[in-house]
Symmetry: C2
């Protein structure tokens, strides 16, 4: 399916954290999958999927880099000597401009490169990933479209074909704002659980989805995305403006301020 | 049901805005309901429910004050001369301490008083209100429990019996934070609709639910609730702290900062 001439491609997963495990669960039925993570002992002898040597990962048809964005360069250095001609290297980071540049600069010419950002995590993908979104950026070679077709048809994902620049611009708002707000809300705990509105319940569900993401994910979103800072600065400036507005208004009496009440009074009084 | 000796009580609705209409839709099958709103012409002659004179509203078994919190006093002054002994006056405001004090001070001794806060609005109650929450504060007399039983058994609401003080303390966080965040997000539009995560989609749904609430609702939540300001100040302080933290970290290199990446490197490198 993924390779015209290979029925069941081999997939090497570099990194077996929470997201690596989610990838493994969904790809295993469709490929020969092995994973490497320095934190985990090899279990291949016992029929498991954890390889003893990262070179085994590098020798696969498809190599997925499921490491923190900031560790990408080091992971590539480890794999590079063993990558085979025609292999496809895929990253899954939350930002795309930086990783795309790193992969283009540091991966050998003879491998294809695809940037991906699954717009879901272990929390939102807990009860299945069909219908969830994934951004795909073709970086080098033509394999991005084959991968997109596989993700769409076999895994049922909604595929968004994009560029690293367009991705980072939109993700700076979607992810940047969600993680920022969630961090602030978690710092305000305990938050009410009983006297809550439907809208507050949604806000809490959003917070629950991202609060267990690793600190590395938060830093990648807020700092490795060049568009994140202007978005965040705008959020903070608007918060400051709102504070000034509410504090200023508090100086006058509540009745005077409330246009709705005034018109009500004018009508009744 | 609501009155032991009256099968179908009369309910007078003072105010027929978006929330008044929602109340009318759900109460009409269970009572004789009339409404008054100075913005609307009487249509009683045409078989409608809009009364010509607020005195008709005041003469009902149950009088519901569905006016902005800041217009409560004026609405009470209009109705007071016509309220009958044994009637129950109910408010539906987003805050409870202020309205409870106003009602206790300004309503005649011969009426019962119940403070309520339906923790939903025209948006969240659009496709039915069964299962949604309502806070009930007994203020004067014993009718709060009869009303609570009706709301629970007949309308299927989740009833939270509370006091104005406890209500405002919790609502300051639940409503105060939701409305504050929603205001800021609306000011940041256009926001992404395509490259979005599940958590961001929840944040947008929360925002959509409250963005059309009247300015009077926002001001009541942020300024008529005495607990709202400390909550808001804490939110703004944490936002400021976060900004300083992210800006400070941005000064050093990304790789140096990322503990997750460092430990990965230590393990692989």
């Amino acid at each position: 399916m993924l390779f015209p001439n290979i029925t069941t491609p081999s997939v090497g997963l570099m990194g077996f954290g929470a997201f690596g495990r989610l990838i493994a669960r969904h790809l295993r039925p469709h490929c020969h999958l092995i994973a490497f993570d320095p934190a985990l002992p090899a279990d291949a002898a016992a029929g498991g999927i954890i390889a003893a040597d990262p070179a085994e990962i590098a020798a696969c048809d498809i190599v997925i880099l499921a490491v923190p964005v900031s560790a990408l360069s080091q992971a590539i250095a480890t794999l590079r000597p063993h990558l085979r001609a025609g292999a496809i290297v895929v990253d899954v980071g939350s930002v795309k401009i930086g990783p795309a540049m790193t992969m283009l600069a540091e991966l050998p010419e003879h491998v294809g490169i695809v940037g991906t950002h699954p717009l879901f995590g272990p929390q939102s993908g807990r009860s299945g990933i069909a219908g969830l979104k994934i951004a795909i950026c073709p970086i080098r070679g033509r394999s991005a479209w084959r991968i997109a077709a596989f993700l769409r048809r076999v895994l049922g994902l909604k595929v968004i074909m994009t560029t690293p620049e367009a991705h980072d611009r939109e993700a700076a708002m979607a992810q940047g704002l969600t993680h920022l707000i969630a961090k602030i809300l978690v710092a305000m705990e305990p938050l009410p659980r009983r006297m809550t509105t439907a809208s507050f319940d949604l806000l809490m569900r959003a917070t629950e989805m991202v609060r267990h993401d690793s600190p590395a994910v938060f830093l990648a979103i807020e700092q490795a995305n060049p568009h994140a800072r202007p978005v965040r600065d705008r959020f903070f400036a608007l918060a400051e403006e709102m504070r000034a507005h509410l504090d200023r208004d508090a100086a006058s009496s509540f009745d005077q301020r409330d246009a709705g009440a005034l018109s009500w009074k004018e009508r009744v009084g």
